[in-house]
């Protein structure tokens, strides 16, 4: 039986991933902000076959408690096989261009809180000498573009950080996975016009579980985004800066 810590457990994608582990009779530890939602999700996962489900409700942007919460989790569970960081917000990109509070909210919720958590999680993982850290990042971090570059830069930071962490932890037996997601049809994107390129949460979740299983380094989900990003990254900046994307 594996123990899986899901951070940002109320997100649609995290819920789908947790369902897959629950159906496989694993133990789950859910961390999110909304305790009522965590209760609903825990019930669901128990019905689906989850062996043991526990939950922690606390705001992930409250950096001051990260160290003690992580200590508490490892004290209670002694080891964790998989940590999935799934929290994040899209925010209001236009507002984030001009408003400091919105900009900081985006950076904290998509980058700073992750790095803070990983500072403590990685130490625990190194001590136990095994495990996988999987981080949900975004294709938006591959190239900055006018439509959401504050969000994108947080995700770009995430990518650089995970790559570095993977490099550092490799000799210790701890694996680090960067999941670059394209847009997925979830409540987070409810105001976006859905194109054929939108992923579905259940199939993205399958991709995540399989990438964790196979110890991949970086994966694009849905897979098509790997090719889209090759094209987008190959556009010369002289042209790119004139595009409205």
């Amino acid at each position: 039986m594996k123990k899986i810590l899901v951070i940002g457990a109320t997100s649609a994608i995290a819920q789908e991933v947790a369902k897959l582990y629950a159906a496989n009779s694993e133990e789950l530890i859910l961390w999110g902000r909304n305790s009522e939602m965590l209760h609903i999700i825990s019930q669901d996962l128990l019905v689906r076959g989850g062996k043991k489900i526990s939950s922690i409700s606390h705001d992930l942007n409250d950096l001051a408690i990260h160290e003690s919460k992580i200590n508490e989790i490892w004290n209670t569970h002694s080891k964790i096989d998989i940590v999935l960081l799934a929290h994040g917000v899209l925010g209001n990109p236009r507002k984030a261009e001009v408003n400091q509070a919105e900009m900081l909210h985006l950076l904290n919720s998509n980058f700073v809180s992750h790095v803070s958590l990983l500072t403590f999680i990685s130490q625990k993982m190194v001590q136990q000498g095994f495990g996988t850290i999987a981080v949900i990042s975004s294709v938006a971090g591959d190239r900055g573009k006018q439509s959401n570059y504050v969000y994108g830069s947080a995700k770009a930071g995430m990518t650089a950080y995970t790559d570095g962490l993977r490099n550092r932890l490799f000799p210790t037996g701890v694996h680090v996975l960067n999941l670059k997601l394209g847009p997925v049809d979830t409540p987070m994107t409810k105001d976006h016009k859905k194109t054929a390129l939108f992923g579905k949460a259940p199939s993205v979740a399958k991709g995540i579980v399989s990438a964790i299983e196979k110890k991949k380094n970086t994966v694009y989900l849905p897979m098509i985004w790997r090719y889209i990003m090759i094209i987008i990254n190959s556009i010369p900046e002289a042209v790119f800066k004139r595009l409205k994307i």
Partner: protein, 434 residues
Amino acid sequence: MEYPSWGFYPVVKNQDTYILPNRITSIPSLTTSLLPRGLGRSYGDSCLNENGTLIITSQLNHFISFDESSGVLCCESGITFDEILKFAIPRGWFLPVTPGTKFVTVGGAIANDVHGKNHHCAGNFGHHVLSFELLRSNGERLRCSRIDNSDFFFATIGGLGLTGLITWAEFKLTKIQSSFISQEQIQFDSLADFLTLSEQSEKDFEFTVSWVDCVNTAKDVRGIFIRGNYCKPSESAVLKVHNTDTFKTVPLFFPEWILNSFSIRAFNELYYRKNLSHHKSNIVHYEPFFYPLDSIYHWNKIYGKRGFLQYQFVIPYKNDQGAALSEIFSLLQRSQMGSFLAVLKTFGSIPSEGMLSFPKEGITLALDFPNHGESLYEVLEQCDQIVRSVNGAVYPAKDARMRKESFAEFYPRLNEFEKYIDPNFSSSLWRRVK
């Protein structure tokens, strides 16, 4: 995102949407009328709310409890039958009643009190519902069952989404030992034969349904009678779930000329001949048996941008030995309105419980028509008149055009029902028929 109905007709404007984030949140107070929305598998305007707001239940997708020994499942109302099957089959359970597609939600199945191929022995989906919570727009939460708030219970089953929002429901699954069906297919070439076959089969077969050709018939209807039971362990003891990941989708609307009366005739001929041997028995997985159309995800787009209409009615046939039905068949033939798919079945004597539930003892026919416009609506209006004359009913879940007077006659408990409507709820269908 757009929220059309399954038949793409009628097309309505200005539908706002509100995604209910979870089952504990109340319905926000809005200035427009509200209507719950499941997967939009209703054909006409019962799942549409022009100039109003649809309350999307996609986030109400959690299980609450399951009792392995009794098969009682409690889950949120946005859970789909597709998902329930994936959960239940490996554990040896199946839906007690299922419509011809698994892409419906629990809420939608209750609100239309849906029926399946086992109506003669299992009744409607509502018969298997033990309790549910009804969330009203004033924030009130009513726990409804046959004992608690039973009036709201019977108004909400078959209540077309008008009595409030079902947040969760508890119902009983059916124990199975195999996910395969042992089926028989038998050709018949008259309505009398169909009725005899139905009568004989209903004792020994849990599932019965017929496909009929009402285009090509010189004098009487012909078709294929299909009957089946879950396999006994000696025939198959496998519990295998369907696979929804390998969809074939119809991404674009087909041009309209593809579905002319010639192609419909050819299709019916082919389907009939496919099964040339008079009697055939075999073992099939539940997926093609219950859900033959689900493998093509958006088959509704085959009918082109003008959409299509389904017409399903029930008529008691015991008194007139099917005379009214023959009359409808010949009306359709004379008017040259081809139907691609015509499904015929008998409903058993289990009385429906919902105030507006559709099924009642008799014979039911469901027909699909490309949207030919006025000429089609006129023919269907004439059919309505025949159905009215014999105390039948037309199914609102599939309706886009019936008149007020017909609705009132088909559903005599209408006035009683009205008392339970949520004052802030309405639908395009409701404003049309009321």
